[in-house]
């Protein structure tokens, strides 16, 4: 926050042989950060599919639907593989527990996975998928046939609409999950992390739809990518500035290298996306840069969390300051 807070008072800081006070996150690479990427990509792809469907952009809607379903399915598989006892992954749905972001998140992901998969059946219907069915008043039915030709399309569209609710949750709940730990660089960043994750997810989903849709139809995907890259960059900057001393793990070591690479790829990919409309090469470059940037962000976040847990100063110094401040308030 202030310049004073950025200076580490090594002299005041005591520890037990420099050992960590807390345990570092034991989540593995590449499982956990890749899931963060896939979950975010899936969530925003659902939102894009809904918007594309509502505005009659069928090619884009098709790409985004597939991206949403694939991201959720592969992401869930990675999470199961990450468990110490993968055969017990269904225990995640044994209870619903509001105090556990992982329990809430498991239900969100289960809904997102189910809905995004169900949404895939819509385009399989024989009728034209040009618009929404009559169930929504004021919105036209699609296709030259007029009335609904089958049941798949309304079912798929209903699932798609519902995934417009689970999508944003899937893209952001992971920030709550990591922030609800004793890991200093994660917990203290709880304000900016959801925006960083949401921006990263938008950049990732925009990139996938840019790459998977003919350029003439991919305008909104480019716009999502640009807005996402901007949101991620601004949130990341704001986070590191506000954290001050606790922002150090995001700037140093392997985490620092990953976060700097992510920043460069995301900003570069975002700028390219602005001008990529007419060029196949620029579109490919932009999409790949944004995808790599989003992945680097997720790996960087995990690494920064580990680094901040491994060094006791990040646990002890802020807590000691808090205690001293409380004592001063009491004395005065």
């Amino acid at each position: 926050m202030t310049r004073e807070r950025a200076v580490v008072p090594e002299a005041e800081f005591r520890s037990y042989y420099g050992r960590p006070v807390i345990k570092p996150p034991i989540w593995h690479e590449p499982h956990m950060p890749t899931y963060l990427y896939l979950g975010g990509m899936s969530g925003v792809s659902s939102m894009m599919a809904v918007m594309a469907r509502l505005t009659g952009r069928d090619r884009l809607a098709g790409t985004a639907r597939v991206a949403a379903a694939a991201g959720a399915a592969f992401g869930a598989a990675l999470l199961a593989a990450e468990l110490g006892r993968p055969e017990r992954f269904l225990n995640m749905l044994r209870i619903f527990k509001p105090t556990s972001p992982m329990s809430v998140g498991s239900w969100i992901l289960a809904a997102q996975g189910g809905l995004s998969a169900a949404a895939l059946v819509g385009p399989l219907d024989g009728a034209s998928p040009g618009g929404l069915p009559d169930v929504l008043p004021g919105v036209r039915t699609g296709g030259p046939d007029g009335p609904l030709a089958g049941v798949l399309r309304p079912l798929g569209d209903a699932a798609l609409l519902a995934s417009g609710v689970t999508g944003p949750l899937t893209a952001t709940y992971t920030a709550v999950l990591v922030a609800d730990t004793a890991v200093p660089a994660w917990h203290e960043a709880y304000r900016e992390l959801p925006f960083l994750f949401a921006g990263s997810a938008m950049a990732a989903a925009g990139a996938v739809s840019m790459l998977g849709t003919p350029r003439a139809h991919a305008g909104p995907a480019r716009a999502v990518a640009v807005l996402g890259a901007a949101m991620e960059t601004v949130a990341g900057e704001a986070m590191e500035r506000r954290l001050g001393f606790l922002g150090e793990p995001y700037r140093t070591g392997r985490a620092g290298r990953l976060m700097r690479t992510a920043r460069a790829l995301t900003a570069g990919g975002g700028l390219l996306a602005v001008v990529a409309g007419r060029s196949r090469t620029l579109t490919a470059l932009s999409g790949l840069a944004l995808t790599a940037g989003s992945l680097c962000t997720r790996f960087g976040i995990l690494e920064a969390g580990r680094a901040s847990a491994a060094d006791p100063k990040y646990t002890v110094v802020p807590q000691r300051r808090r205690l001293d401040a409380a004592r001063e308030r009491q004395d005065s």
Binding site: V44, D58, R59, R94, M102, S128, A223, R320, L323
Partner: protein, 290 residues
């Protein structure tokens, strides 16, 4: 519910014998810690973990002597253990319900439920619980739940030769600890203080608390531990704001300036209205099926 039971670990009488570590391992049949020589005084377990449920810390404090020789001024020894917090982060975040609160107000993992998600590990503000990699599940001190149910005291307390580890009803232990601190201070040991005894601390008070002779961080304990789930409403509010922002930004990307919309930006709600020729691949197939 039975009375809340707890540990009071009075480190001022700990002699570092590690009988508690051994008794815990014996009773709970814990695997070895790897037989590591830590080169940190007489400590060879380092910190609490999946297979180390009591950990004896050794701190040698030196004071520069006038003749330039650094003599050991005093030894601090302390047997660390799971704090069995009133507001336990591990229990809060456990998604399967494997962690539960017992009738003795202690916190225990049910190993037949735990699926090894690992969330409790970074959630614990004391770094107590850990996953045993060869087994895939999370483990920690149960305050000898099985022995307590049989009316016995936990193995570590039973084995402690100096009564540094005391087991009993928490209220009783707290008043006993207050008296002990008062006596030590009256004897001139101003540095004596209790750690984890106050229900107003960041974890609502610990079921296992300590009498320390220096700052907590010297023993590897966090000076002001907090259960982060207390901030959950704020965490979800910020995530909600981010989710709404993302949804708004996506909507803007589709409904915003015409230039962004690509070739299908003609009609906002259903661009194919009245333009059958503009159907995509799927659209023309639908038409053909008529």
């Amino acid at each position: 519910m039975a009375e809340r039971m707890g540990f009071f670990t009075d480190t001022s009488v700990c002699i570092g014998c590690k009988a508690c570590e051994v008794a815990c391992k014996e009773w709970n049949q814990l695997p070895d810690d790897g037989f590591v020589f830590e080169a940190t005084s007489y400590d060879n377990t380092g910190m609490l973990g999946a297979s180390t449920w009591r950990h004896v810390a050794f701190i040698e404090q030196a004071r520069p002597a006038p003749d330039g020789d650094d003599g050991v001024e005093r030894w601090l020894m302390s047997s660390d253990v799971c704090k069995h917090c009133t507001h336990a982060a591990c229990l809060d975040v456990c998604p399967t319900g494997a962690l539960f609160r017992t009738e003795f107000d202690t916190v225990v993992v049910q190993s037949d439920i735990c699926n090894g998600c690992g969330y409790c590990v970074p959630a614990c503000p004391f770094g107590v619980i850990d996953r045993r990699e060869e087994d895939g599940r999370a483990w920690k001190c149960t305050m000898c739940y099985d022995r307590q149910r049989g009316g016995l005291e936990p193995a570590c307390a039973k084995a402690c030769p100096t009564d540094s580890i005391q087991f009993g009803p928490l209220d009783e232990l707290r008043s006993r600890a207050e008296e002990r601190v008062a006596r030590l201070r009256a004897d001139g040991r101003e540095e004596a203080r209790l750690y984890g005894e106050s229900p107003s601390d960041g974890v609502g008070g610990a079921g296992a608390f300590f009498l320390l002779l220096d700052e907590p961080e010297v023993y590897g304990l966090p000076p002001d531990p907090v259960v982060t789930t207390r901030d959950l409403p704020a965490l979800w509010r910020w995530a909600g704001a981010a989710a709404v922002s993302a949804a708004g930004a996506v909507a803007l990307a589709f409904l915003g300036p015409r230039g962004w919309g690509g070739s299908r930006g003609r009609g906002r709600w259903g661009g194919s209205r009245g333009l059958p020729g503009s159907h995509g691949v799927l659209g023309s197939r639908g038409g053909g099926g008529r």
